[in-house]
Symmetry: C2
Subunit: 204 residues, 2 copies
């Protein structure tokens, strides 16, 4: 029984956003739960030598066109951000603080927070590197934004993001989104269907 | 009415091979014909700064695993070649000589030749940079292999490959396979289904 999809994403990743909007419905249909893993691709790209997609000639033009096209196919809002890419360090730390929180009420808000941050960036045109934006998102979900901002400045939460990224790299993650199901990795928004077929068929 | 899928591929590309095995059935279902465009990604990578996928840390491991996995999903033979990647210059020139030939009987053998070359490399473990292998493939299809080897040494055929690659780059092609349907580009074996939905729905 597969019952867990490890979902690795970078808040600066358009395909991460699109997959994030769809992953829970697919997981539910597949009898799986989603475990959220915010990471920073900047650290990964130091190892792989990759550059942000949109900075590459030819590939960049296609990517920007495809972000919108893939969003339209799934009736998702998409506005390519004016500031792109970004390093969403504070938002990533905040997500981990929620996910790993000792308070179950806060833990339960993790998915809503992740969706709200992603939508703020890719749909509402907000600057999610700005602490006041993160605080506003938290506030809208009845999360104590002062406590959140204090928490993400602590060494423990800073370390948790570093460790999260190291573990992702150890697991072979090199792009966003990456879904890992029972050690089987699937990279890319365009692999969600293949992942679904893999789960329902038991693999091939 | 869309009636033409421009199919760009590099003979050294595993995903090009997998898509090549599937494109005609999809085209037939979609009421389209396939136009074959052999290219050399080496020339494209000089512009995009990309490296061969398998030479990239983390990404390479995933890619090699995924080539076989994606082949198995579609019941296709796949043996990762011992010599990889390669620059399949002669095979690409031969394909263009067939495709653009004044003899309709030779033109009609283009698709069979492309499939046979791809299978020689990715299924039979043959060295398709070797002229004797290309000649043998040609012979197996009742193509005059001596005429073919003479033709691909001519300046006209050499130029045709250079021009083909330049035109591909002008059309925005940066990877293999790329399918272009009515100016709409789809990159990757894993986008065949999306391309199919695009054609059948008239786009979105």
């Amino acid at each position: 029984m597969s019952n867990c999809i490890d979902f690795y994403f970078d808040y600066s990743s358009p395909y991460g956003y699109l997959a994030c909007e769809r992953i829970e419905a697919i997981a539910a249909k597949s009898g799986c739960t989603v475990v959220w893993h915010p990471i920073l691709l900047g650290a990964v790209f130091k190892i792989t030598g990759q550059k942000p997609l949109t900075e590459s000639p030819l590939r960049g033009d296609y990517a920007v066109r495809d972000f919108s096209r893939s969003a339209r196919e799934h009736q998702l809002e998409y506005q390519h951000p004016a500031q792109f890419p970004i390093g969403a360090i504070a938002a990533s730390r905040a997500s981990l603080w929620l996910r790993d929180n000792s308070d179950p009420q806060l833990r339960a808000k993790t998915a809503d927070f992740i969706h709200a941050i992603y939508r703020a960036y890719f749909s509402a045109g907000q600057d999610i590197t700005d602490a006041t934006v993160i605080a506003a998102v938290a506030g809208s979900l009845d999360i104590d934004s002062e406590a959140l901002l204090l928490a993400i400045a602590t060494q423990a939460v800073k370390d948790s993001l570093r460790i999260e990224i190291e573990q992702a790299i150890s697991a072979g993650v090199f792009g966003s989104p990456t879904m890992i199901v029972n050690n089987e990795p699937f990279w890319g928004h365009d692999r969600l269907e293949q992942m679904e077929r893999w789960i329902s068929s038991g693999g091939w």
